[in-house]
Structures are given as C-alpha cells and as structure tokens.
Symmetry: C2
Subunit: 339 residues, 2 copies
Amino acid sequence: MKLASLNKGRDGELIVVSRDLKRAVKVPQIAATLQQAIEQWETLEPQLQHVYDALNGGQAENAFDLDMAKLHSPLPRAYHWADGSAYLNHVQLVRQARNAEMPETFWTDPLMYQGGSDRFIAPTEDIEAVSESHGIDFEGEIAVITDDVPMAVTPEQAAGHIKLIMLVNDVSLRGLIPGELAKGFGFYQAKPASSFSPICVTPDELGDTWKEGRVHLPLTVHLNGEKFGEPEAGPDMIFGFPELVAHAAKTRYLGAGTVIGSGTVSNPDAEGGPGKPVSDGGVGYSCLAEVRMVEQILHGQAKTSFMRFGDRVRIEMFDRDGQSIFGAIDQQVVEYKPH
Amino acid sequence: MKLASLNKGRDGELIVVSRDLKRAVKVPQIAATLQQAIEQWETLEPQLQHVYDALNGGQAENAFDLDMAKLHSPLPRAYHWADGSAYLNHVQLVRQARNAEMPETFWTDPLMYQGGSDRFIAPTEDIEAVSESHGIDFEGEIAVITDDVPMAVTPEQAAGHIKLIMLVNDVSLRGLIPGELAKGFGFYQAKPASSFSPICVTPDELGDTWKEGRVHLPLTVHLNGEKFGEPEAGPDMIFGFPELVAHAAKTRYLGAGTVIGSGTVSNPDAEGGPGKPVSDGGVGYSCLAEVRMVEQILHGQAKTSFMRFGDRVRIEMFDRDGQSIFGAIDQQVVEYKPH
C-alpha cells in the first residue's frame, strides 16, 4: 500500500496513492491524517488496503490524478524522529574528514541522534538556509515509521512494529558540526529540518527487496541534474531497521508515528576502500561530505563544494522495473529571508 | 492564567485552572487540547483568559474541584522538546564527575540537546526503568512553551514567543551517559521520557519574579519526603529563556508547542564553590549527580546512591506567599515490566 499527505494544515490530509503513483483518493471516512492512521493502524490498515486495491483496479470513487507538487512529507510533523547511522562507510569517511578515529564498538552499538520533527520540509519545498558558510549538505537515507513500540523490545519484536517505509533528505550543516559535537551534547543547530519522499509504502510493497529489515535497492541521487550517486541500500547497512528500532526503544516507549532513519546510504569498495565518485567510475555517494573526503584521498583535494543557494538535489528509488517507488525528494537550497 | 491537561487520550483534554489550583473548568468550546490552543494562541489566549477570570471570581459555569492525580503533563506529547543546560554550576559538577574540563566557550554558547517528546510521563505517574544499574537520576528544571518561532530570531524577538512556563523532571540514566557521549552523537538512551508539572502558567502569572527571561524563585526538591534542594532558579541561570529559544531557532523554525528547558537548577556558593548539600547546611541540588560529586569533594566519597525502585522525587515551586504555582511533580521509580 502507498500513502501520502496533501500539503494542507500542520498535519496534511491523508491520501491513498496508486502503485504507479498516478492516481490518488482522499480517505476522510477512515482517517484525516497519517498520524491518526498510524495511531490505530491495526484497525485502519485493512480499510486503507481495501481502498488501495480499489484504486489500483481503477474502481475507487472520487479518485484524482496525483500532483506530486501538492504533497508534503508523509508525516508533515512527527513526535519523534531519530536517525541512526547504520552505513559505517559513511561514518568512517565523515570522521576521517574531521580527523577522528572510528571506535571498534561502532560495529556493534548503533549511532543514533534525535532530530527536529516539529516542522519537516515538503519533498519539493525549498531548503531555507541562513548562510552558505554553514556548509549545506544533503544526506540521502531510508526511514521507517513505527506504531506504538513497548520499552526494551528485542529486534525480533521491533520488526513487527515497522509499518511504513520512505526516503529522507537529512539536511546537514557541515560547518556547524565540529563545533557542536565538541560540546558533547550531539547535533542540534547542525541538523535543521529534514524532508521525506512524497510517498511512504508498507513493507509488502517492496516484495523480496525488503529483507532482513533492509531495502535491497539502489538509492539514486542527482545534484543539479547530474547523477551523483546510486549506492546500494541493502548490503552495507550494518544494523537493520529492527536493530535500530530496538536501540531507540532500549529505555523508552516509542509513540505511534515514530520515524527512525538509516543514516546516509554508502558503499565501500569490494576491497573495503571508501568507494569512488560517479565521475571516477564508482557508484558515488548520498552526501557531499563523503565525496569531498574521497576526492581528497584520490586527488589530494576536495573539488566539490557544499551546496550553494540555487543548487538542487533529487533523491529517488526505483524498483527493478525502473518504476519510482516513493516519488522524488527534489528541492533547491535558497537563502532564508525573514517573512 | 493557569492551564492543564486531563489525562485522557494521547493529547489530554485542556482545562483552565484557578490561581489557587483548587478549581478547574473544561473549555471544549475554545480548544480541545493545549497543543491546539498554542497553535492559535493569539486568537484563543484572550478567550481562555476570560474563562480564567470567571473561574477565579467563582463565576465559571461547570467548574469542578481539581484532582491533581487526574492530570497529565500540560503537553502529554510534543513535537519538539529541547533542553538547555543554562546553570553552569551543574555542568561543571557533572563534568568533574566524569573528569571532563569545561571549555570557556560554555559561558557564551549554550548547551542544548533534543529529548524524546512522543510520550511524556504524567507528573504523578511512575518512572519505569529497566535497571537500577542504569544510574536513575532526576533533574529539576524549568521549561517554557513557545508558539511558532521564525528561523534565526534574536533573543529580543524570541522573548515574545514564550507563552507558558512549567517545571520539568528531566529523567536521566547516569550510567549510560559516559558511553553514549563518547560516541559523539549526544544523549539518546541516557535521557528517557521526562515529566512536567501538572500546571503551566503564562509569564504574567509570575509577576515580578519573571524577569530577564528567568524565574526568580527557589525550586523545591524532596527525595523520599526529605528536603533535598531549594536552589534559586534566577541568578545563576547563565542564559535566559530568550537566549535559549534563539539558540534553538538559529537554523530552523520552531513549531508551536515547542518546549525549551533550562537545564538542572543549581547554585554555586557566593565564593564560586560548588555549593553544599542540605545536610551540610547548603541549599542543596536538583539532581543526585551533583550531590554525589559534592559529597566526594567534601567527604572523599559519594554517600547518596542513585534512585532505587520505590524511591520518590517531588519537584515544586512556591510563590513568595508559599502558594504552589505549578502543582507538584511527585513520582516513584518502578521496575519496568512488559505489559
């Protein structure tokens, strides 16, 4: 099943979207918002599925043509957004960029930070930033939405609480990270509002490409219209989503509508090296910080700059038939001006 | 004006509470929840104030006796909860406890972490914890609730967005902090769900004890019925709430209903020393970590243990006439058992 939210009010208006992303239908008789739906998922999921089946069969009443530009992030705001960093190739590269060693425990104990969730950006909305000097970067990732998760669940139990899957652009301000991390309290100003793919999908929608709590497909990233990366999201995700959800729930309940991210998708070489940029024949990356580090390793200096006002990033994932699964995050960076 | 939420559903039911905390009235004709009220504060605040005036005058229809046990935290869940650490005496003591120096920049650049907000604890609800070995601690603090805050506001602008004030128990798991901070991403598992005072109040309710964005009254903390601390909340708060809100908004909008905390209230001595426990004739502290560090300094070893299952903490603030302003956070630690 595929769901989305029309950009309307603070929480959007829930719609069911056809598998081919062409048609949609409002479902006020079931739930006004995705947040409401996830809070009563067990009851409402079969009703939504019924509408989805009718929509795909061309039999849903009041269906309309889907306009991606009218969609917000599936949850336009959420009560909990915690982002893991499960692709350790990314962790190694960004730490190398700031001359920090990666401890061995990182292979067994997931990294996770809590991000701002009171006002996500819509998938095609501008990314407003105060200054280019903050080192504006994108991070292409995958995220899941859970229902209510009890405290201290095992990964096996956590797997059953993963209800929806989507993509993320975890916007990062690289220039603010070293100073902020040095203070010891983690990211805050360095991680402004994120955006999510217009569509979220139930795990069954991914067929056999959803296995072991990972999405086994490449994530496609374009920067200003040029292919920037197409890393595989499956094999190099050291911790699967069930492990990340269990990590988040170790000392707390997770409320329905909790969003847990994978961290930036990143592939090392077969030999364990940091991979290569697309321009050097590699699969590329999902963020600028990595390509800059690799350019420095390969060529002695970073040639790619962080995002400038006017730059555009597009993040998307295609199934094995080339069909876009989640629609595209496609957004431009602009200078913030007080309204 | 004083507001609270009956413990009902995920978001509670908004009530207006009399100044003396004895009577209350539901206001479904104005807003169903506090979250709804803060989202339309400019329109709804005068209507709520009208009800408050009638209630204090004994003229509100359908008023009822207030039962504190039926209240949740004013926002039972929130989209954004970020906690500063503005009392640097606390920062110095807890860092000393883990042998970490305090950088000079801490006097000019506030510390802030983002906490879990999807499921706060009610003020008289048990604190469920998985293990005493996690080093269960309370932290008595003050917090404010904002309306919508634009990106990059100045502290002067931020001051006008502070709409409500309340108390917090920022539950902390000291045993998990060193390992978690060493990973570099800040607190997550070490900061489980917090609770808030049953009542939140508008700044005018504090009269001249609200000045320069600080509450100039002592915060009273009892542990198992014994006075544990009564530190002054005003003078040693190095950054006022307007500075903390502006810090939070530096690179992002803050959505209405954002909760910003002060950090643990803590007073140094007049001579700049770390203060004294109540048992040594001092004003005491608002968390166990500090008293343990000071005991070690004064007596060579910490004699106070972290919280055990069955221990109870009470956090309250009285006005100059001895009247409780916010009602009490009063809760027991219990062992978490899967339901």
